[in-house]
């Protein structure tokens, strides 16, 4: 390279005149066509001012010549998507809830629709896969506070639990301790008794007979004489292995003392019927759905 440039000195005036330590900057103009292309792109860019909303004004902005708006474009896309899905959506709408799962095509569609709606609306509390969290029921197991049949799930989604909806699920665990209904010792005794219902260990020296009496007097109204719960009131089954909060004595005492009353919003006002139907099928097919 160097040999060649020594052999071929550049003609006079071929540099820009810039010089650093004896090194001259060659002036190599752009090819003419490239330059014109560059000007053409500048001219082309002016078209965007005309076609799209662009210049800010005092209180608004210039509208594009064709009324294009990003928000409108999104709305169009959503409408197009709705149209594209309309055939399947209509089938889902007209098929009775009980018949959806026996139709593979409809089941796939409902689950796909449900998966997206679940991720958007339900996942913050119930987890992305419906696994729940402390205080937020796990939807993949076979234990249901308000019922696990399709119609039960649909009603809970549509009207919520302890929500502002009149048709919502109602039923509250009272704050037995805080409101002075039970003494401290009663509560400790009944907590131990509750643990014993599902075969968990109890504190040494705990008076289970006394606990059973306290349970029969105060808790059996809702949770049933045998502690198996009551779905009409959302009273949990205390004899199974599933705990909405935690099975340790302290958590149980906390629940009895302060009461419980987790709220599920009524989604009927936010989601359309097809989405609720799809969500119902999606939750029902997590694995714990009842026939």
């Amino acid at each position: 390279m160097s040999e060649r440039s020594e052999r071929k000195p550049q003609p006079q005036g071929a540099t820009t005149g810039h010089e650093w330590d004896g090194i001259h900057e060659l002036n190599t103009p752009l090819p003419r066509w490239w330059l014109w292309l560059f000007y053409a792109t500048i001219a082309w860019s002016a078209g965007y001012w005309v076609v799209y909303p662009s210049w800010p004004l005092i209180s608004s902005y210039t509208n594009g010549a064709f009324g294009w708006h990003a928000r409108g474009a999104v709305a169009n896309d959503l409408a197009a998507l709705k149209t594209q899905r309309s055939a399947m959506t209509a089938r889902l709408e007209t098929t009775p809830l009980a018949d959806i799962e026996s139709n593979p095509q409809l089941l796939d569609f409902a689950r796909a629709l449900g998966r997206a709606a679940f991720a958007d609306n339900c996942a913050p509390c119930h987890g992305s896969g419906g696994g729940g969290a402390r205080g937020y029921p796990n939807l993949t197991d076979d234990d249901w506070l308000w019922g696990g049949k399709l119609v039960d799930i649909e009603q809970t989604i549509r009207h919520g639990a302890r929500s502002s909806d009149d048709k919502g699920r109602q039923g509250t665990m009272p704050a037995f301790g805080r409101d002075g209904m039970l003494k401290r010792d009663d509560i400790i005794a009944v907590a131990n008794y509750v643990r014993s219902l599902s075969g968990l260990s109890t504190a040494p020296g705990a008076d289970l007979k006394f606990g059973a009496k306290v349970f029969a007097d105060n808790c059996a109204v809702c949770h049933g004489p045998d502690g198996k719960g009551n779905r009409t009131l959302g009273a949990a089954n205390l004899t199974d292995k599933i705990w909405l909060y935690a099975p340790d004595t302290q958590t149980i005492i906390d629940g009895i003392w302060n009461g419980r009353g987790g709220v599920m919003p009524a989604w009927g006002t936010k989601l359309d019927d097809v989405t609720i139907k799809a969500l119902t099928v999606y939750v029902h097919t997590f694995g714990g759905g009842e026939k």
Partner: protein, 518 residues
């Protein structure tokens, strides 16, 4: 008009196109010194050439002979296949298209006669590309740029376009003279007809292309009635434009400037590859017939080449093959035909230009044995790779399954405790059915002794195992629940096999996942 063209025409015009016997014309022409700028040298040692050189328009002369005949046959066969193949039918039954060759993007299938390829099997394409590359290398090692000269679409379409050009605007001489005239009605009409025919061919080329992607007869009807999808018209438009531009206007420039293959070729070739070669041991020193006669009288040597330039005039890339191996030479062999014709006319032996090697010519010049070696390391190696890859592909294709299964474990929650204390894991199972009819698969899960398996949305059973229907040429995704009452070790992770067996017998396909516990 560029100076190059002008001087080429000036040179041509010195010989009247008619009225002289062709041979005399050729010899007269050979006497004239070559004027005008030299052809662009691609390997200028000084590196002083300008970065841009104006194109010298090439007017290839019509030629007859062995290689021209081969090129015609190849042209008809390859273009025939290209234009007509989409219309070939192949009955696959009611659940698959009946087009022999179809790239079905909508349903993501590729059909080739009895072969059907699913998207996850595109590795067959990889194998095909390896075989294709090796076949190119092998061709190159045996006989140089056979691909460039005969098979390359650029060559084939350029050939077709040049034929149309000769037919409308005349052969070399007539065309050069016509180009020198002002734009009169005749010239305009001929150019108009030429460009119209070019566009028609280009349009048909684009039209044939889209037929490979949809049912051809239906698409033809839809295209004609403007019912076809916009993308079809778009692609026809694009390919019409590229065909017209590349084959009609750019031609040899594609080979010389754009195509990477000549460069790869230069790196791959060796001294034993048979290339279109001017046998300078026979041809030099060049002398016209008269001059050769007088040289012979004085006992001086004269070669067989009479410098008639026919080899240059027929060349579609404007190369002088007598200058030795050249990047611009696509090795189509048309100069061999041209030279043979001249040699026959002047009564000298044919094949002054032939498929030969530099090494052989040197050997002949030194009086030693001809040096041909077709069988050598690289040809053997290329052939071995072709056989090996082809063999592997054939084997895998012949033994490939018509079904398959894949499993994904639920990520959240990884396990579920049921009210009776049982542990359940949920899986997404996808079953592939490549058969062209509905197939029922029996799903077995092995690895847990006392597990119950449930498929959401499918109650059918064969014994205690769930049975799943999968439609023809489809996949089906199902949610599978595996539940066990077995006592598990803490943090258990038990390997599970998901096995599907076609109902009614057949070999099993399986996939592996894990059963996780608390």
């Amino acid at each position: 008009m560029c100076p190059g063209c002008a001087s080429a025409i000036a040179m041509e015009a010195a010989t009247p196109p008619h009225g002289q016997p062709p041979l005399a014309g050729l010899i007269d022409e050979a006497k004239r010194p070559l004027t005008g700028p030299p052809p662009p040298q691609l390997d200028d040692p000084d590196g002083d050439m300008p970065l841009y050189a104006a194109r010298r328009k090439i007017y290839p002369l019509r030629v007859h002979g062995t290689y021209r005949r081969i090129k015609w046959i190849v042209l008809f066969v390859t273009l025939g296949i290209y234009y007509l193949l989409p219309f070939v039918r192949w009955d696959r039954g009611p659940n698959a298209p009946d087009q022999a060759v179809l790239i079905d993007f909508a349903t993501r299938r590729f059909y080739f006669f009895f072969i059907e390829i699913w998207p996850q099997e595109v590795y067959y394409l990889t194998g095909l590309l390896i075989v294709a590359a090796m076949a190119l290398f092998l061709m190159n090692a045996v006989a140089g740029r056979v691909w460039c000269g005969y098979l390359c679409p650029q060559t084939v379409w350029t050939d077709l376009f040049q034929t149309i050009e000769r037919w409308t605007e005349g052969d070399r001489r007539e065309h050069i003279l016509r180009d020198r005239q002002p734009w009169n009605a005749d010239r305009l009409a001929r150019a108009g007809v030429k460009h119209f025919l070019w566009l028609m061919v280009a349009w048909w080329t684009g039209g044939a292309w889209v037929l490979y992607f949809a049912d051809a007869p239906t698409l033809v009807k839809d295209l004609a009635t403007f019912q076809a999808p916009l993308v079809a018209y778009g692609f026809i438009g694009i390919l019409t434009f590229t065909t017209y531009t590349l084959a009609g206007l750019m031609r040899e420039q594609v080979c010389v400037y754009m195509c990477p293959w000549p460069r790869i070729q230069a790196a791959l070739t060796d001294e034993y590859a048979l290339n279109v070669t001017y046998r300078y041991n026979r041809g030099e020193p060049r002398a016209s017939l008269k001059k050769a006669a007088s040289l012979h009288e004085h006992g001086e040597p004269a070669g067989d080449c009479i410098d008639c330039l026919q080899c240059v005039h027929v060349c579609p890339t404007g190369v002088d093959i007598r200058g030795g191996p050249n990047l611009g030479c696509i090795q189509c062999g048309l100069c061999i035909d041209a030279c043979d014709a001249v040699m026959a006319k002047i009564g000298r032996p044919a094949r002054l230009i032939a498929y030969d090697t530099e090494l052989n010519i040197q050997a002949l010049q030194q009086g030693s044995e001809p040096a041909y070696r077709i069988i050598r390391m690289r040809t053997l190696l290329y052939a071995a790779i072709i056989v090996a890859v082809g063999g592997i592909m054939t084997y895998t294709f012949a033994t490939r399954r018509n079904d398959g299964i894949s499993v994904i474990h639920d990520r959240n929650p990884v396990f579920v405790r049921l009210s009776d204390g049982a542990i359940r894991n949920a899986y997404t199972v996808r079953i592939l059915n490549k058969n062209l009819e509905t197939q029922t698969f029996v799903l077995k899960v092995a690895g847990l002794s006392s597990a119950s398996v449930e498929v959401i949305g499918s109650d059918a059973r064969r014994g205690s195992d769930p049975a799943i229907d999968v439609g023809p040429d489809q996949t089906r995704e199902v949610r599978v629940l595996v539940t066990t009452h077995q006592a598990l070790d803490p943090d258990a992770s038990i390997p599970l096999s998901f096995i599907i067996v076609p109902d009614g017998g057949g070999s099993a396909a399986s996939a592996v996942d894990h059963f996780l516990g608390p």
